[in-house]
C-alpha cells in the first residue's frame, strides 16, 4: 500500500510539497507520454482525415484517404505481403525455436556456449542483418555463385531478384535474426515445467516423444502466447530489414505497410494517405497488444 496517504492535517506548504513530491517526480513522464504518445496518435489520426500532402494541412476530407488507400495497388501488395511474411515468420520462428529449445534441454554439454551462438543475431540491428543477407542472396556473389562454384552449375537461387519470391527472402533473414530469441523463451518455459509430473509419466512408460507431445508442449502455452505477441508485433513494425535487404523491391514486391507508410508520407508527398496507413498499423497492433497487456496487468493484482 501507499505510504504517501498518511495525511498531515496541519500541513505547512513545505509539508504539502513533500507529500506531493512523488507525483511531481512522475508528472514530467505523464506529460511526455500524454503529448508524445497519445497526443501524437490523435494528431496522426486527425491528419488521416485531412488533405495533407507535403505538409500537414487541415482541410477535412472525411474517409477519402482510407478509400484511396484501399484502392492503391501498392497497399494491397503491402498488406498481402504482411500476411505472407507474418504467418511464415511467426510459424517458422516458433517451430525452430521450439525444436532448438527441446534439443538444448537434453542435458547438453556446453549448453551455455551453444545458446550464446543461437541467440547472438538478436544483438545485431536489422540493418546489419539485411546488409549481410542481401549479399548472400545475391546470385552474383552469394549462395548461388558459391554452389555453382562447387560444381552444380545449374543451381539457381535468385529469389531476391524474383518478384514472386522476394518476400520469402525477408522471411529467411528475419527468421535467422529472431529464432534464437524464441528458443530462449521456450527454454525458459521448459525449465519452469513441473518435473514431478515428468517423472510420473516416465515411470508409466511414456516415450520421450509422447512425453513432449502430451505433457510438455501443452504446458508451454504461455510461452507460445508471449512469442506470438512479440513476433506479430515485430512483423507489423518491420521496416529496417526490408529497407536494407531489398529496399521494397524488385518493384514493389517486398513492400510492407511500414515501408508504404514511409514512402507515401515522406517521398511521395501523400501525407494524408501515409497517416491513414499508420492508423491501420496501429489498429492491427492494438488488437494484439491490448488484450495481452490487459490480461498481464490484471494477473498482477
Amino acid at each position: 500500500m501507499s505510504i504517501s496517504e498518511t495525511e498531515n492535517p496541519r500541513g505547512s506548504v513545505a509539508d504539502r510539497v513533500r507529500d506531493a513530491l512523488p507525483r511531481l517526480v512522475l508528472s514530467p513522464t505523464v506529460a511526455i507520454v500524454a503529448i508524445f504518445v497519445y497526443g501524437f496518435i490523435l494528431f496522426t489520426l486527425y491528419l488521416s482525415f485531412t488533405d495533407s500532402r507535403i505538409l500537414p494541412s487541415f482541410g477535412w476530407v472525411g474517409w477519402q484517404n482510407y478509400e484511396n488507400l484501399f484502392r492503391i495497388r501498392a497497399w494491397d501488395t503491402a498488406v498481402s505481403n504482411l500476411v505472407i511474411f507474418g504467418v511464415l515468420y511467426i510459424a517458422i520462428c516458433c517451430a525452430l525455436g521450439l525444436l532448438l529449445a527441446i534439443l538444448l534441454d537434453q542435458r547438453i554439454r556446453a549448453e551455455g556456449f551453444i545458446r550464446t551462438i543461437y541467440l547472438y543475431p538478436m544483438a545485431l540491428s536489422f540493418i546489419v542483418t539485411g546488409v549481410a543477407w542481401k549479399w548472400f542472396l545475391d546470385p552474383g556473389i552469394g549462395i548461388e555463385a558459391v554452389v555453382q562454384g562447387w560444381g552444380w552449375t545449374d543451381f539457381k537461387f535468385n529469389w531476391i531478384k524474383d518478384r514472386e519470391m522476394a518476400i520469402y527472402t525477408i522471411v529467411i533473414a528475419a527468421v535467422w535474426q529472431t529464432s534464437g530469441f524464441v528458443m530462449a523463451m521456450f527454454l525458459a518455459g521448459l525449465r519452469g515445467i513441473d518435473s514431478e509430473m515428468m517423472k510420473a509419466a516416465q515411470i508409466d512408460g511414456a516415450s520421450t516423444f509422447a512425453l513432449y507431445r502430451r505433457i510438455v508442449i501443452p504446458q508451454l502455452r504461455p510461452a507460445f502466447m508471449s512469442a506470438f505477441v512479440v513476433l506479430a508485433h515485430m512483423a507489423i513494425k518491420s521496416y529496417d530489414l526490408v529497407i536494407a535487404l531489398t529496399g521494397g523491391g524488385p518493384g514493389t514486391a517486398t513492400e510492407l505497410p511500414a515501408t508504404f507508410m514511409y514512402s507515401y508520407t515522406f517521398t511521395r508527398n501523400q501525407m494524408g494517405i501515409g497517416a491513414a496507413s499508420a492508423v491501420i498499423m496501429l489498429m492491427t497492433i492494438a488488437a494484439i497488444i491490448v488484450p495481452y497487456l490487459w490480461s498481464e496487468l490484471r494477473e498482477k493484482k
Binding site: L21, V25, V30, G39, F40, I108, P121, V131, G180, L293
Partner: protein, 290 residues
C-alpha cells in the same frame, strides 16, 4: 527437466543430437563468418566467386576504407563521423531514460496513488505502438523545438520513447523490494530522495545493467528515427551504413560493405559477449512480462 535416454540407444541418439546442434551452430555463425572473411579480402577475390573461402591475400584495406575514406552520401568521410554520432546519441539517451525510469519505478511501487495502474498501463502501451504513428507529428515537433536534423533531436526522441521500457524494468524490480525498509526509513525521517539514493539505488545494480543494455541495443540499432529525423551531419551509424551499401555510384565494394556492417554491429555484439546473461534477461523482461 531433461529426460533420461534409454541406455541402449544412448550413443547413437546422442550423436544425432549433437550433430543437429552443431548444424544449427553453423547456420547461425555462417553469416558472421562470411562477413568477417570477406572484409579481409581484396575485392577481386570476392567477385571471382569465393565467398566461403578464406582470403588468399589478407588485407585490412577494406576496414580502413570503411572507417575513414569510403563515400557515404556526398563526401568520402568513411563511417567514422557517423560512428561518433551514434556514440554521442546513445550515451545521454541511455543515461537519461534509465534515470527517469528508475525514479518512475520507485514512485509507482513505493508511493502509489489512485490510478497508478492506469498510468502504468498507458505507459506500457506506449512502448508497443508502431512508431510510424508518431513520425509526422514528431518531425513537426522537432522543427518547432529547433532540433530538426540534429543529434540532440535524436537524443530527445530516444529519451522520450525509452522511458516506457525503463519504467517497466524498474517498476517490476522495485515491486519485489521490501516496502517495510522504505517505511522504516521514513519513520527515521528520511525524505523521498534520500530513501531513493540511500536505500533503493544501491540495490538496483542488476536491473540497472539490464535496463542500460536494453536501451543501448535498441537505440544503437534504431534505424527508423535516425532515417526520419537526421540530416547528413547527424546521421547515426545504421543510416550511414545503409547509405554506404545502397549508394549506386561506382563499383560495389562488397569487402568495404562487410567491414562497415561489422563496425555497426561491434558495439552491441561486444555488449552481448561481455554481458550476455543480462542481455537475455533484458530481452525477456522487455518483451514477455508486463
Amino acid at each position: 527437466m531433461a529426460t533420461a535416454t534409454k541406455s541402449r540407444s544412448f550413443s547413437a541418439a546422442r550423436f544425432v543430437l549433437y550433430a543437429l546442434l552443431a548444424l544449427f551452430c553453423i547456420y547461425y555463425l555462417l553469416p558472421l563468418y562470411v562477413m568477417l572473411v570477406n572484409s579481409l579480402k581484396p575485392l577481386s577475390e570476392i567477385t571471382a566467386g569465393g565467398m566461403m573461402a578464406l582470403p588468399q591475400d589478407w588485407t585490412i584495406a577494406p576496414w580502413l576504407s570503411a572507417w575513414s575514406t569510403a563515400q557515404v552520401g556526398v563526401e568520402a568521410t568513411g563511417l567514422r563521423p557517423y560512428f561518433l554520432n551514434s556514440i554521442i546519441m546513445v550515451v545521454p539517451a541511455v543515461a537519461l531514460s534509465t534515470l527517469v525510469g528508475a525514479l518512475n519505478g520507485y514512485v509507482l511501487t513505493k508511493w502509489t496513488f489512485r490510478g497508478a495502474t492506469v498510468v502504468f498501463g498507458l505507459l506500457l502501451f506506449g512502448c508497443f505502438i508502431p512508431f510510424q504513428m508518431v513520425l509526422i507529428p514528431m518531425a513537426r515537433m522537432l522543427g518547432l523545438m529547433g532540433l530538426a536534423g540534429s543529434v540532440t533531436g535524436l537524443i530527445f526522441v530516444h529519451f522520450v520513447y525509452g522511458i516506457g521500457f525503463s519504467t517497466l524494468y524498474f517498476r517490476n524490480y522495485y515491486a519485489a523490494f521490501p516496502t517495510e525498509l522504505v517505511r522504516a526509513a521514513q519513520i527515521d525521517g528520511a525524505g523521498f530522495f534520500r530513501i531513493f539514493w540511500r536505500i533503493l539505488l544501491p540495490s538496483s545494480g542488476p536491473i540497472a545493467v539490464v535496463c542500460i543494455i536494453w536501451q543501448f541495443t535498441n537505440i544503437w540499432n534504431d534505424f527508423l528515427f535516425g532515417a526520419s529525423f537526421s540530416d547528413f551531419s547527424s546521421q547515426p551509424m545504421t543510416v550511414a551504413l545503409n547509405n554506404l551499401v545502397q549508394s549506386s555510384t561506382g563499383v560495389k565494394e562488397y569487402n568495404v560493405h562487410f567491414a562497415g556492417a561489422i563496425m555497426a554491429a561491434l558495439p552491441t555484439l561486444l555488449v552481448y559477449i561481455v554481458a550476455g546473461r543480462y542481455f537475455v534477461r533484458g530481452l525477456m523482461a522487455g518483451s514477455v512480462k508486463g
